[in-house]
Amino acid sequence: MKSETTVCAGAVRRRIERLSLIAMATVFELVLFVLDAAFPKPVPWIKVGLANIVTLALLVCVGWRVALAVHLLRITIGAVFRGGLFTPFFLLSFSGGLISFLVMAPAVYWAMPALGFVGVSLLGALAHNFTQLILVSAAVSSFGVIELLWPVVVFFSLLYGCFVGFTSYHFCRRIPLLASGRLISTGSVPLDRRAV
């Protein structure tokens, strides 16, 4: 009797923990997202991507399911904030975000101790910005835009990627909950895949 209730309690507790983790992380990302937009930028539509600090941290310290949930929630709710839920900007944001996640998640799982925080973040930034560039040129049916703009995209992706990776690393280091690895159980990720 006693062991059964303990097991049930453990599973329920983990679900509650997970839900509140997702909620808090989403709020964090949203705040960063809004802050991000307020920064003056040399190139208008290439965002610094501050929210990815949290996404990356979650990918490394928790698990990809939680990270994905937070990431998508942030993009959607963020779009609602910017009044753009049914606009082309949302499509751009969403596609960029999705592709960058699809690049970063495998990188964290397979490339990770060989690759550091900065490396993964760079790849994510490049993926995100290039996806947006390609979509924009497809929409205007003029792929010549790519030819003109890709160096700018590369430069800023590298720059911002470094910054986000750097910040994410220190964020993970300083927050004991993340650094301890305790949260990994809530991400429901096979342990042998973790960076040990």
């Binding site: 606009t87 082309p88 499509l91 924009v136 497809a138 929409a139 205007v140 049916s141």
Partner: protein, 368 residues
């Protein structure tokens, strides 16, 4: 959790999400397109009516421009088929063959419009503009693509001039859908007005395709929609009649105004120091010889501008300007005061309204 719960909590939100993304994709790309593409200038060329049709479109939407330009080219080619005197299957040839028939001949709406305009200009110009000089034009050889043009025999010229009653014998019936052509009316050839009509039609086709800013240039006859890349007007230069690389001034053309120029410097040949050009005087059967080098007319339709320019050319400078003023058009006539068109010296006469638009610079400026 049983199957239905799992379905409800996972599948349905997923489907909704997919629907959302697809919906945004479909709606969003069109708006994104317009918001991010700057307006660009697209130029299309095509051969039509024995010359080149150039359509310049300012738009965000390249595909639209291409489609509209293709339609405009098709329309001009359609009109060419109708008005081509060298094509035995054209409506024009049919009318020529059936001339002299006691019954009125049916005409298409386009032919009727052009004929009516031609006859109107004929009346207002005092018979100087004739739509039925086909035989004369063929005799001189400017229309057929013949080499080694020569001055035709004077007896043959006078034979035609004397036996033809010209436009007197062309009468359009009240309904406008048929025309009676007398036996001695001459052979229809609307070269002096057909290109102008084609420009009017091309502009109409572009407008109906949704194009808002465009310029149509058919062999020097020009019509516009909206404004050009300077945001205010389209910049149209007037060709210097003797130096190919120069223009004598620039007209700021806006929608609703059309420009046509008749000149002696494109279709001509020189024999024994004399220039024989393609603008014939129906009274003499010879190229108009009142010393005019070129006439540029701005009017509210290209068809009229074209016809009036041809008429004014034959009339000479003084009568020509008077005629253009009376017709309410803006005109410029470049002519040699002493009648010597080959000396290289010439001057100009213009309607007041034309001078307000442009001051001619006879030395000319290099075409940029």
């Amino acid at each position: 959790m049983n199957v239905t719960d799992r379905l409800a909590t996972r599948l349905i939100p997923l489907l909704l999400l997919i629907l959302l993304v697809v919906g945004i994709k479909v709606f969003g790309t069109r708006v994104l397109h317009r918001e991010t593409v700057p307006e660009a200038s697209y130029v299309f060329d095509g051969f039509a009516m024995g010359t080149v049709l150039t359509v310049k479109v300012l738009t965000h939407d390249e595909k639209l421009a291409e489609k509209a330009a293709d339609k405009a080219l098709a329309e001009v080619r359609r009109l060419h088929k109708m008005f081509d005197p060298n094509d035995p299957e054209s409506e024009l040839s049919f009318l020529n063959k059936a001339a002299g028939s006691p019954e009125p001949l049916p005409v298409s709406a386009d032919m009727s419009r052009v004929l009516r305009a031609a006859l109107r200009i004929r009346k207002l110009s005092g018979g100087v503009f004739e739509p039925a000089m086909g035989k004369l034009i063929a005799l001189w050889g400017f229309n057929a693509e013949r080499k080694n043009l020569q001055v035709p025999d004077s007896s043959r010229i006078s034979a035609i001039v004397e036996s033809t009653h010209w436009g007197r014998e062309i009468v359009i019936t009240a309904g406008g859908d048929s025309v009676k052509i007398g036996e001695h009316a001459g052979s229809l050839d609307m070269g002096g007005i057909a290109k102008g009509y084609a420009v009017d039609r091309a502009i109409a086709v572009l407008a109906s395709c949704g194009v808002r800013k465009a310029l149509v240039n058919l062999g020097g006859e020009i019509g516009v929609l909206g404004v050009g890349s300077n945001g205010r007007s389209w910049r149209v230069g007037v060709q210097h009649p003797r130096v190919n690389s120069r223009h004598i001034g620039v007209i700021d053309l806006t929608e609703g105004f059309y420009v046509a120029t008749s000149g002696d410097y494109e279709r001509y040949f020189i024999l024994g120091n004399r220039r024989y050009h393609h603008i014939l005087n129906p009274a003499t059967g010879y190229p108009a010889a009142r010393g005019v080098l070129s006439v540029t007319v701005i009017a509210s339709s290209c068809m009229e501008a074209d016809g009036m320019a041809t008429a004014a050319f034959v009339m000479g400078a003084d009568r020509g300007i008077e005629y253009l003023e009376q017709s309410g058009a803006k005109g410029l006539i470049l002519y040699a005061e002493d009648g010597e068109t080959e000396s290289g010296n010439f001057t100009y006469a213009a309607t007041g309204s034309f001078l307000e638009l442009m001051k001619p610079d006879l030395a000319g400026q290099l075409i940029p």
